[in-house]
């Protein structure tokens, strides 16, 4: 989303947990859908388990908004099904993920200030 021609990540915040996890999962490189599901599950110790419907609803929205993009590059066909679609994080997507992480960190800091160590 641009305002006066300049991209403003704050427009997308706050993200839902699923959205945030998808962006983070793509932060270290392009992945196909199932890989994103696995990555999220692994990284959160199974606490967040994305279902395929939810995942692709998020993917579609991010693709429409330009936060992620379908990758044109394919891995070696011997290593993967060439019909799979891979997604990568765009610069805008990365800014939004960072902005969300910052927002969560600030929220956490405020909570700590009030509640003490948690």
């Amino acid at each position: 989303m641009t305002r006066m021609g300049r991209f403003d990540p704050a427009v997308y915040l706050p993200l839902t947990p699923a959205m945030f996890q998808v962006l983070v999962a793509l932060a270290d490189g392009e992945k196909h859908g199932y890989a994103i599901i696995k990555e999220v599950s692994r990284r959160t110790d199974g606490a967040v388990h994305l279902r395929a419907g939810t995942l692709y609803a998020v993917v579609k929205r991010f693709v429409d908004d330009g936060l992620i993009a379908e990758s044109a590059e394919r891995p070696d066909p011997a290593l993967d099904d060439e019909r799979r679609r891979y997604y990568r994080l765009t610069d805008h997507g990365r800014s939004v993920a960072r902005a969300e992480a910052r927002r969560m960190a600030e929220t956490l800091a405020q909570a700590r200030a009030k509640l003490g160590t948690i």
Partner: protein, 881 residues
């Protein structure tokens, strides 16, 4: 199995999403399932499929909403781009939706809502129909029907009475009362809210029957809603009655309301079978019944007819061709108004169709301008389904805006209907603007959007792959097929307008004929009011003394009325013409007696006091009217009307002949005069046999008379002095139903006039829409063919030839529409035959006038575009190209 379910569930997603991601979803689930292992794999696999299916089901609405939001935004922007188009369409739709929603509300309240009785569809009325028109029955007949028929779980008889409530801070008040046999409340299925219903013992002659059940309204008005009213003895016209019950609030007893003048209390019938008025030929009781479960109306009618046939064998002098007619209460009350409501409903539906056709034409013009846009989107890969969805959203938005805008005019229309709707329309007060009305408007919007949205969708989808459209040519000229569609739409809207216009024309002629009917009286300058003579002083002594007391009361009142300034004549009559009051008697002529007295014709009897013929302007055709010679104790006399002379005396002079009313053994009355016919039962019905007798010479007292006073001035100005006269003579006698006779006459045609006026409004709107639609289509055609016309003119075509070409291309669909619409109207009117009087559905003058008006209006709409086309400057138009 799981995969199949998932495939099916994926169809819930919007096509756009499905095309992009359905395969991905399925693949992701397949990947997950491959990784499941172990003994519990089968269960885990099922859980995975189900969880994914559920997830897709939850995701789908959000995806649809996303698309809808985008389409709505797009549609809104598109509308803002052409605000005149959008506003015109929304306003036109709003008017049509409002008319439809309000008409639905009227039909819903009047026709569709169930009657306010338990299992109302099993409630019927039973009428004797052997002597022509179905009518009431005598008490002994009712008793036999009650005991011998097997079709009814309850059968009751009812008649009307009146009660005058006096005492307390309020003025004396006369209310109508229903006298009912004991099972009445069981029959209607609604019992008193306070107290109890009548007991068997109370439905017997004598003092025990003097109990009363009050309506909730009367209880609140007269007794301040005091629950202690139960057991209280109230003085009703000098007779003590004990209140034993109060009916529930909101109990809308249509029987009491429509047949017994809004009766506000019920008392037991309490007839003595031996009483003279209980005889079989004393047909004055209405009979109502509740059908046993599973018994049809036809079976009940056959059952009752069989009983009457048996009674005719047992009592041959009391029945002629006995037959019972059983009708549901719904048919009885709502049947007469059904054609009027259905005609109006049909009218608004036609108006809605005309509107849809016109909005479709409007959208078609707009669609022509958008073919390039749609072609470009199609070329960019937007699917057919996606395009249809977006175009449907645009039509839907238009419909929704129309529906929202329609709510205010619908509310106004219903307010107007309640205020000015015909008084004889039952349950008019129940017509309300409620959630059902709003729902009806929205449903109409949905259906309409489908109707008017279809044409542009078809056009745009056909054009989307056209190379011309992509080049931009599509926005300037339309193909032959598109013009055919537009011409068909114009013809369609003209045809629909023709249906309404022709229908209105025929109804207008029908009402005009009805209003031109000679009622047989002069209604202008006449005031009418009901005055009752009730109370102990009229019940003293024998019947003759009561008759004399009642006659003296009215005579004194009329004498004082005559002395009022401006009064030219004052009289009283037992049944006011064209009111719902009727009093029929067998008409037996000495020397012309029939073997079976029941074969004698019926006559409407009018007991009159004062100079009645002068007051109502009824002409004396032969002999004389009543005068001082015709008082009590003198030779009983009668006047008959012209129809009696024709139908009974074969046109011969009846003066001096003797007639007996009721039975051949009744008091013979010498006919002293013949008077003109009065259309007592309605302007659209023949007068029938009428007989007038002096009130003072009738065997029983007529205690409820309508006073009629002819004045030089405004009739209502006489009301206060006349009320004062009655109060002065006897302050306990209430005066009700004060109204000019002209209003009474007008009320008989109110439904027809209402239907005609409303249909005329619909027809005007439909014709206007059709004409504006035609004008719009021709204007667009001229604009789009500017270059072609310019070339024609440049090549030597004459301006008048161009004018004729455009004019004819507009008039052709008008002629086609009229050719279809006018015969269709004749067919439709055939179903509303009961609303017509004196004209046939195929009434030539109406058909001719409607056709001429349509063609004239259509031709007028073609004139300006035709002239504009003939004035195109070839040089300018070619340069523009």
């Amino acid at each position: 199995m799981g995969a199949r379910i998932l495939q099916w569930v994926l169809r819930l997603l919007p096509g756009e999403f499905r095309d992009g991601y359905a395969r991905e979803i399925a693949r992701a689930v397949a990947d997950q399932s491959r990784e499941l292992s172990g003994t519990a794999r089968r269960g885990a696999l099922a859980a995975l499929w189900w969880a994914t299916a559920l997830d897709v089901i939850c995701t789908a609405p959000g995806q649809h909403w996303d698309i809808l939001r985008r389409d709505l935004t797009f549609a809104w922007r598109a509308m803002l781009g052409r605000p005149a188009h959008a506003i015109t369409a929304v306003v036109v739709l709003a008017i049509a939706f409002a008319a439809n929603a309000s008409m639905f509300a009227v039909a819903d309240a009047v026709l569709l809502a169930p009657l306010d009785y338990r299992e109302a569809d099993r409630l019927v009325t039973v009428r004797e129909a052997g002597r022509g028109e179905p009518g009431p029955t005598g008490y002994l007949t009712f008793l036999d029907l009650e005991t011998r028929t097997r079709s009814f779980s309850a059968l009751v008889a009812a008649t009307q009475s009146t009660a005058t409530f006096t005492g307390g801070p309020l003025d004396a008040e006369r209310v109508n009362v229903m006298r009912v046999s004991r099972d009445y409340f069981d029959m209607v299925g609604v019992g008193p809210e306070l107290g109890r219903a009548f007991t068997d013992a109370e439905d017997q002659p004598g003092a025990a029957r003097r109990v009363m059940i009050l309506s909730d309204a009367l209880w609140r008005r007269r007794f301040a809603a005091d629950p202690a009213v139960l057991g209280r003895v109230v003085d009703v016209s000098g007779v003590p009655f004990t209140v034993v019950g109060v009916m529930p609030r909101g109990f809308d007893d249509l029987i009491a309301g429509r047949l017994y003048g809004d009766a506000a209390a019920w008392t037991p019938l309490g007839y003595d079978p031996a009483a003279s008025f209980a005889c079989r030929t004393c047909r004055h009781l209405r009979v109502f019944g509740r059908l046993r479960p599973g018994v049809s109306v036809a079976a009940a009618e056959a059952d009752a007819t069989a009983v009457l046939s048996q009674l005719a064998v047992e009592h041959p002098a009391s029945y002629a061709g006995p037959r019972a007619q059983v009708d549901t209460l719904g048919d009885l009350f709502l049947g007469p108004v059904r054609p009027a409501v259905l005609v109006l409903w049909g009218g608004v539906v036609v108006l809605l169709l005309v509107t849809c056709v016109n909005v479709a034409g409007l959208l078609l013009i707009r669609a022509s301008e958008r073919t390039t846009e749609v072609a470009v989107r199609a070329a960019l890969g937007v699917t057919r389904g996606r395009l249809i969805r977006q175009l449907a959203t645009e039509a839907g938005l238009l419909g929704a805006l129309g529906a929202v805008t329609s709510l205010a005019p619908a509310w106004l229309a219903l307010w107007a209907v309640r205020l000015w709707g015909p008084a004889d329309l039952p349950r008019l007060a129940d017509v309300t603007f409620d959630a059902r009305t709003i729902a009806a408007a929205w449903l109409m919007a949905l259906v309409s959007a489908l109707l008017f949205g279809a044409a542009p969708v078809v056009l745009l989808l056909r054009r989307r792959d056209s190379p011309d459209a992509l080049r931009g040519a599509g926005c300037r000229t339309d193909g032959v097929r598109t013009w055919r569609v537009r011409t068909a739409l114009v013809a369609g809207s003209v045809a629909l307008a023709a249906v309404l216009l022709t229908g209105t024309g025929v109804l207008v002629r029908s009402v005009a004929r009805l209003l031109a009917v000679e009622a047989g009286l002069r209604s202008e300058g006449v005031l009418t009011m009901k005055v009752w003579a009730g109370g102990a002083r009229f019940n003293d002594g024998d019947t003759a003394a009561q008759v004399a007391a009642v006659a003296a009361f009215y005579d004194e009142m009329l004498a004082r009325a005559r002395a009022l300034p401006g009064v030219r004549a004052a009289a009283a009559v037992s049944s006011l013409p064209l009111s719902s009051d009727r009093d029929s008697f067998g008409f037996h002529v000495a020397g012309l007696l029939t073997n079976n007295p029941e074969d004698a014709p019926d006559a409407d009897r009018f007991a009159v006091a004062g100079d009645y013929l002068a007051a109502l302007g009824i002409p004396v055709v032969a002999g004389r009217g009543f005068d001082a010679r015709d008082g009590p104790g003198r030779v009983p006399v009668a006047l008959v009307n012209r129809s009696a002379v024709t139908s009974v005396f074969g046109g011969e002079d009846p003066i001096g002949r003797q007639v007996m009313l009721g039975t051949p053994t009744a008091v013979p009355r010498t006919i002293v005069g013949v008077v003109g016919d009065v259309r007592h039962r309605g302007l659209d019905r023949p007068a029938g046999i009428q007989v007038y007798v002096p009130q003072a010479q009738w065997a029983y007292p007529d205690t409820l008379m309508t006073v009629v006073v002819r004045t030089d001035g405004a009739p209502l100005a006489l009301a206060p002095p006349l009320r004062a006269v009655v109060r002065d003579i006897d302050a306990t006698q209430p005066v009700t139903d004060v109204r000019p006779l002209a209003d009474v006459v007008a009320a008989t045609t109110s439904t027809r006039r209402f239907v005609t006026v409303v249909l005329a409004i619909f027809a005007s709107a439909a014709v206007l829409l059709a004409v504006v639609g035609l004008y719009g289509v021709l204007s667009v055609m001229v604009a789009q063919r500017r270059v072609e016309i310019g070339i024609r003119l440049a090549l030597g075509a004459r301006a008048d030839a161009i004018r004729r070409m455009v004019f004819l291309s507009g008039v052709r669909p008008v002629l086609l529409g009229a050719a279809i619409g006018v015969p269709a109207a004749v067919l439709a009117l055939g179903a509303a035959d009961s609303l017509l009087y004196g004209v046939r559905p195929a009434d030539a003058p109406s058909l001719f006038a409607a056709t001429a008006l349509l063609i004239g209006a259509g031709a007028a709409a073609c004139v300006v575009p035709a002239r504009r086309a003939s004035r195109i400057d070839p040089a300018t138009s070619l340069r523009a190209e």
